[in-house]
Subunit: 215 residues, 2 copies
């Protein structure tokens, strides 16, 4: 994280130029997919908008799916870094908080997700990509594996810790359990079935942990 | 339901012709949207494939969204009628079963939904429509209101009955509660996050009713 690392010294101008190009390509790819959708987004269109030659893109990425995948991973990283820098967030990209209060920790992370889903920089390109994933199984599976599943695994880790602490039953499969509060939020976002609020995600956590049946 | 009703007598040939055209238009609309997606599906394309004039379509429906909406409602009705006729299903289109065993009833209906999600006649057009709804808020909201929400309300009714029977806590909001088992299945289908099986939906029902925390 130091501003000048030895490995970057050999060709500082070239490195800076590459970084500028890479950033312009990511921005162009995200903007284009948001505006015209995945099927009509092309490497040529991204290159033109980014002000680079299309060979520059082909040198770094084999396909538009690869460019977009990295652009989204970069967008997530930026969001995580910004949240850490301004002190409003956690290490949500790397581990969920564990204060010992499972309900509070889950509510905290889901509220942050509500904010992210309402962020315009995130929403339009994410919707375009999610829509394509619904009808394009290969792309859908690839993006889920790289973008969504790593985030879901953070919930698996937190629920495993809760099992060790005795806060979640030992016979529960954490990978399924997390869907009780993550998937409702995802479906409301994907399908506009109902509003997304903090009160809603708090309620999901309470229902999932305590169950619907009387105790 | 009688085969010959007086209201159908005045112009039987015209009625039969209309019914044949309507069926051909629904079939063409569903096939086209599955093959080329919602944006590229046009009234002209539907008319051409159905072998009717496009004025025939415009006389009955103001837009392609309306044609597709009715084609999907018809597809759901047909599936419900077929299931009833062959004795494998319930009145799932109109009410959920209420045997007094909430877990068993929910598992039964979710297993039927798993079958429906795996039915090729349903899958391709449904995916095309769901994908468009992700990026086209007006269409998404309209289709949810006409197609999805009425089905979700059947769960609301069943959960209300369970509250009266003392099987679900009185302070639970049934419209949110149903999402604990419906939305995970929807997200796995929409995003290919993981396989969809009877064992999976049975597990969702058990987790939702009993909760993740020890009892």
């Amino acid at each position: 994280m130091a501003p000048q690392q030895p490995a970057r010294q050999p060709a500082p101008d070239a490195t800076r130029r590459s970084e500028r190009s890479r950033r312009a390509i990511y921005d162009a790819a995200l903007a284009l997919v948001a505006e015209i959708g995945y099927p009509r987004t092309t490497i040529e269109g991204i290159a033109s908008r980014a002000g680079v030659g299309k060979q520059t893109i082909y040198r770094w990425w084999p396909s538009k799916a690869d460019v977009l995948l990295e652009a989204f991973l970069d967008l997530s990283d930026q969001a995580a870094q910004a949240a850490q820098a301004d002190g409003t967030a956690d290490d949500a990209a790397y581990a969920l908080p564990d204060t010992g209060d499972l309900a509070a920790d889950l509510k905290y992370v889901l509220r942050a997700t509500v904010d992210e889903l309402h962020d315009p920089a995130f929403e339009a390109p994410s919707r375009a990509l999610a829509a394509e994933g619904v009808v394009n199984e290969e792309l859908g599976r690839r993006f889920v594996a790289r973008l969504l599943e790593p985030q879901l695994q953070l919930y698996v880790d937190r629920l495993r810790a809760a099992q060790e602490a005795g806060d979640v039953r030992a016979d529960i499969d954490p990978r399924i359990a997390l869907e009780l509060f993550v998937s409702p939020l995802a479906q409301r976002w994907l399908q506009y079935t109902a509003p997304i609020t903090y009160e809603y995600t708090d309620t999901l956590v309470d229902y999932a942990l305590n169950g619907l049946a009387p105790r």
